[in-house]
């Protein structure tokens, strides 16, 4: 398995994602600048948190025009796994790879905290290794208030696209939504930070199941291809 962590100017969780993948899960990972136009050699693509292009104009609104985005769309067409965390989630919704949009928190202001999450669907490519129904993940965002219209929400629910909901909604998200996939189930975005919850010394390892799920999905996928 080969992973790419995409770094836009202003990304600031790129190294955290890299360390989670490499130090904790020994995944062959490279940090790839947003100017790169070919991601064909990577099996999974991670778009990390931060403030891409300063988050000026609107979060993720400038990043969606970066050269690498065409390659990310191509990876989506091929059904590769694509993960957006925090700003990465915002970029994926701006780029139309995920439904919905992220707005300013109901109570405006950046919040850094640890929040409870319900693992709504434990069979997805991103959640198959979770053994607990609720976990604790760190959050750190000012614009994590997920919005989606009623019709789309109903479709997403029917499709099991909602993977995580907040136990105690910190930002006003519709239906307490914390993390969603696209209709195909290969693109995932969430505001909470699993990469901040993989190391015992830092005090939280609930995020390990997230990475374990992705690795298991890729192994399955590769075996399926071989067979």
């Amino acid at each position: 398995m080969k992973a790419a962590v995409i770094t836009f100017p202003g990304s600031n969780c790129d190294l955290d994602m890299y360390h989670a993948l490499v130090d904790e899960f020994q995944v062959d990972t490279e940090i790839i600048p947003a100017t790169v136009t070919d991601l064909s050699q990577y099996d999974a693509i991670f778009i990390p948190g931060g403030f891409s292009y300063g988050d000026y104009l609107r979060t993720g609104a400038i990043a969606r025009f970066a050269p690498v985005m065409a390659a990310i769309k191509e990876a989506d067409n091929q059904g590769k796994l694509i993960v957006g965390i925090c700003n990465g989630f915002q970029i994926l919704t701006e780029a139309g790879l995920l439904p919905g949009a992220l707005q300013t928190n109901t109570k405006p202001g950046f919040i850094c905290d640890t929040t409870g999450l319900n693992v709504v669907n434990q069979t997805s490519k991103f959640t198959n290794a979770f053994t607990k129904a609720t976990v604790k993940f760190p959050i750190a965002h000012g614009e994590g208030n997920y919005f989606v219209d009623d019709a789309t929400l109903a479709t997403m629910q029917a499709n099991h696209q909602i993977l995580f909901t907040y136990t105690d909604n910190p930002n006003g998200s519709v239906a307490d939504i914390a993390g969603v996939t696209n209709a195909n189930g290969n693109v995932f975005g969430m505001m909470p930070h699993p990469e901040r919850a993989v190391d015992e010394l830092i005090g939280n390892i609930d995020g390990r199941a997230f990475f374990a799920s992705i690795i298991a999905s890729l192994v399955n996928q590769q075996e399926a291809t071989k067979a």
Binding site: N12, L15, F51, G109
Partner: protein, 738 residues
């Protein structure tokens, strides 16, 4: 077509004394004329006014600052550079410094605080270091008016807006409230960085013909004369000068930071020196680099990247536009440096070169617009100001205040709601404390702890000072600031290794203020030597006054400690029911300057209670030994609010209870005697702990799983629900800010 501004001639400058509002005195102007052997032109007068301001030259505080002890076996770089550096073994070093942004934050709190974060980070990465943490030490007036609420909300938002975006965790600090800061809040920011010793850089312009490279944001008209502005006091009559405040752009700063660290790594031989453009911008950075190296510089101002048209040399040199750096690059290596910065989307332009004639020379539009000896520019006249012991100290009441406690439970709950004591979580939750995923101990414990990835090491860090103590005794209060900082580091299980400071005082020309400054520094210095924590960097902020009333002397101490093995990392919260609770150190009647005196009388008064440095050092050493031996479950320093607050905070972390008995009167639960800790110990470790601590620790009770605080004194037994205490403490700031 814009009208070209016509600058006053040298003779007009002399005749109309236009240098006076810039902070240059008549005597100083005369001295400039003597040094130059002619009248300075407009640009030169501006350069001298900025470089000779207190903010840049420390001309008034230097006789005091020079006394700081700043050398020991760890010190790789003491005061005088962007930041100080200490050896932490394995060829690694920790870099840290603190800086004040009080004046800008008073008039434009969001940008003032934001650019405070930006400025101190540049000091860290200009040494070649990767910033790993930011701490904030904030002081505001009482939360009883809209102006103060506005200042608090905007300062917090400014720190969050900048620090979160740049991706350096804000891991700690402290916030306190007192009416003394109402017209002049304090915004002190400390930054800590990590450095491979081989990559260490200093701000020096060495080597004739090496190039001066300007990097980062373009220069605009913002912040002109910010340094002079920071060297004057506020009052009701004078309109605050907003144009002297700069505007921050954390996105550009992140690019500048990443690129600067990258160039030091990629081309270590080609980067001769780095200096950030902070106070007094281009002139300060370039003149200091030249003067420290004993060299001159020759700059062509036409080459300076500009974002406004028709800027004059005066404006270009004095602008404090943010996110700019000056590098000295080895001759011949300019192209690869420019190329590296271009990778990050940054402007990098050679604007001049190093010369060997010691002259500071500026060209503009083909003319020489300044020609000054660089040493003259960076050597302001020194002032030895008179010091006078304030009346309030001479006639201080020697008796300690006696708190009135009719209902122990009520007083207990009331003290937890005092703004200075209450939880600051509703404020610091706006700061990203976890980015970089190295923060082991988050805000809310005694000291923050950040691990060093790839090693067993970790760094503990804290900021401390209680201005009320210093108001009552600047020398002893200075000692106590150091003692508390060290107790916080020790309680986290680390060895204190060094300090930085922000010396926040009033107008030093007031002999009483100067006395406070000198005495505070002496107190800090004495403890710095006793603790073996050299003063490796720092900052002075004077003229913190409103309507001629100085703030309490507030020398913030920022201390760093070293964990050589992360198994020693300890937090303040009780861990489990059944653990024994000990108090280390004697509790005596220490109430003058205390939180309870303030709460019950509205102010602090009398002679400050005594400080026993020997007891302090002994208790700290014992606690650290106990932690290192693995005998301690939790450790918490006792400070404002005394035993009552210390025990409650230890219980809040995991919502546990406690049952404690004291052979003390009720009031002593709120005494602020120094040198004390609350420690919890697992029963199996009690015997070893007691053997080590001997008479220095006293068993006072147990941690319980009943969610209540049961406290027995000589005269009372009270039981307080944990939830009631917790709510009082946690929600107080939120209620006050409503």
């Amino acid at each position: 077509m814009m009208q070209t501004y016509k600058e006053p001639t040298p003779a007009e400058i002399r005749d109309h004394k236009i240098y006076l509002p810039w902070g240059l005195t008549e005597a100083e102007y005369e001295l400039v004329c003597q040094k130059l052997d002619r009248l300075p032109n407009y640009t030169e007068t501006g350069l001298f006014a900025a470089m000779w301001s207190e903010h840049c030259s420390y001309k008034k505080s230097k006789p005091v600052l020079r006394t700081f002890w700043s050398k020991n076996e760890r010190v790789l770089q003491g005061p005088g550079e962007g930041a100080g550096i200490l050896d932490i073994g394995d060829n690694q070093a920790v870099v840290f410094k603190a800086e004040s942004h009080n004046h800008p934050s008073a008039v434009e709190p969001y940008e003032g605080a934001a650019t405070g974060v930006g400025g101190i980070l540049r000091d860290i990465f200009s040494m070649g270091a990767q910033p790993i943490a930011v701490l904030d030490s904030l002081r505001f007036g009482e939360i009883d008016n809209e102006r103060t609420k506005y200042l608090i909300n905007e300062v917090i938002a400014g720190i969050a807006g900048y620090g979160n975006a740049i991706g350096i965790p804000t891991v700690g600090g402290e916030i306190a409230f007192d009416k003394t800061y109402a017209g002049n809040p304090l915004v002190n920011v400390m930054a800590v960085g990590l450095l491979d010793q081989d990559a260490m850089k200093v701000g020096q312009a060495r080597g004739v013909d090496n190039s001066i490279l300007y990097v980062g944001a373009k220069t605009g008209r913002d912040g002109i004369h910010g340094a002079t502005f920071a060297s004057a006091a506020f009052s009701d009559e004078e309109e605050s000068d907003r144009s002297a405040v700069q505007v921050g752009d954390p996105f550009t700063e992140k690019l500048v930071m990443d690129a600067t660290i990258a160039i030091v790594k990629r081309y270590p031989e080609d980067v001769i020196g780095i200096q950030d453009m902070g106070a007094a911008g281009l002139v300060s950075s370039s003149a200091e680099m030249a003067s420290k190296a004993g060299m001159g510089v020759h700059l062509n101002l036409d080459l300076v990247p500009q974002r406004e048209t028709q800027m004059t040399p005066y404006e270009l040199m004095l602008s404090e536009s943010q996110e700019r750096m000056l590098l000295v690059i080895k001759k011949g290596s300019e192209a690869k440096a420019v190329e590296l910065f271009a990778e990050y989307g940054l402007d990098a332009v050679v604007i001049g070169k190093v010369t060997d004639d010691g002259m500071y020379r500026l060209d503009f539009n083909g003319e020489v617009v300044a020609e000054i000896n660089a040493q003259d520019l960076t050597t302001a006249p020194k002032y030895n100001l008179p010091a006078l012991k304030p009346e309030r100290l001479k006639n201080a009441d020697k008796n300690q205040f006696v708190p009135k406690i009719e209902d122990l439970k009520q007083t207990f709950l009331q003290i937890l709601q005092q703004a200075t004591i209450a939880s600051k979580a509703s404020l610091y939750r706006h700061f990203d404390s976890m980015v970089q995923t190295n923060t082991v101990v988050n805000p809310g414990s005694d000291a923050a702890v950040v691990r060093i990835r790839g090693t067993k090491k970790a760094l503990a860090m804290t900021t401390d000072v209680n201005g009320r103590y210093l108001y009552l005794d600047p020398f002893v209060g200075g000692q106590m600031a150091m003692a508390e900082a060290a107790r916080n580091i020790i309680a986290s299980g680390a060895l204190p290794i060094g300090i930085t400071d922000c010396l926040n005082f009033g107008n030093p020309e007031n002999p009483e203020v100067y006395y406070e400054l000198a005495q505070s520094v002496a107190g800090i210095n004495k403890m710095a030597q006793a603790l073996n924590t050299p003063v490796i960097s720092g900052n002075v902020s004077l003229y913190n006054e409103y309507n001629d009333e100085a703030i309490y002397p507030t020398p913030m101490v920022g201390m760093v400690g070293l964990h050589t093995d992360n198994h020693t990392i300890t937090t303040q919260g009780f861990k489990q029911a059944g653990d024994a609770i000990y108090v280390v150190g004697e509790t005596t009647a220490a109430f003058n300057g205390s939180e309870i005196q303030k709460m019950q009388t509205g102010s602090v008064a009398g002679q400050l209670f005594a400080f026993d440095a020997d007891a302090e050092l002994r208790n700290q050493k014992l606690v650290l030994t106990a932690i290192e031996a693995g005998l301690v479950a939790s450790a918490h320093d006792l400070s404002e609010g005394g035993l009552a607050v210390g025990l409650a905070e230890a219980a809040f972390a995991k919502h546990l209870g406690f049952d404690v008995q004291f052979d003390l009167s009720d009031d002593l639960l709120f005494s602020e005697t120094q040198s004390r800790f609350v420690i919890s110990v697992t029963p199996s470790k009690q015997a070893a702990f007691e053997a080590l601590m001997a008479a220095n620790a006293q068993l006072v009770g147990q941690v319980t799983d009943t969610p209540s605080f049961k406290v027995t004194t000589q005269t009372s037994t009270v039981e307080i629900l944990e939830n009631e205490a917790y709510t009082s403490w946690k929600d107080a700031i939120g209620w006050l800010l409503k």
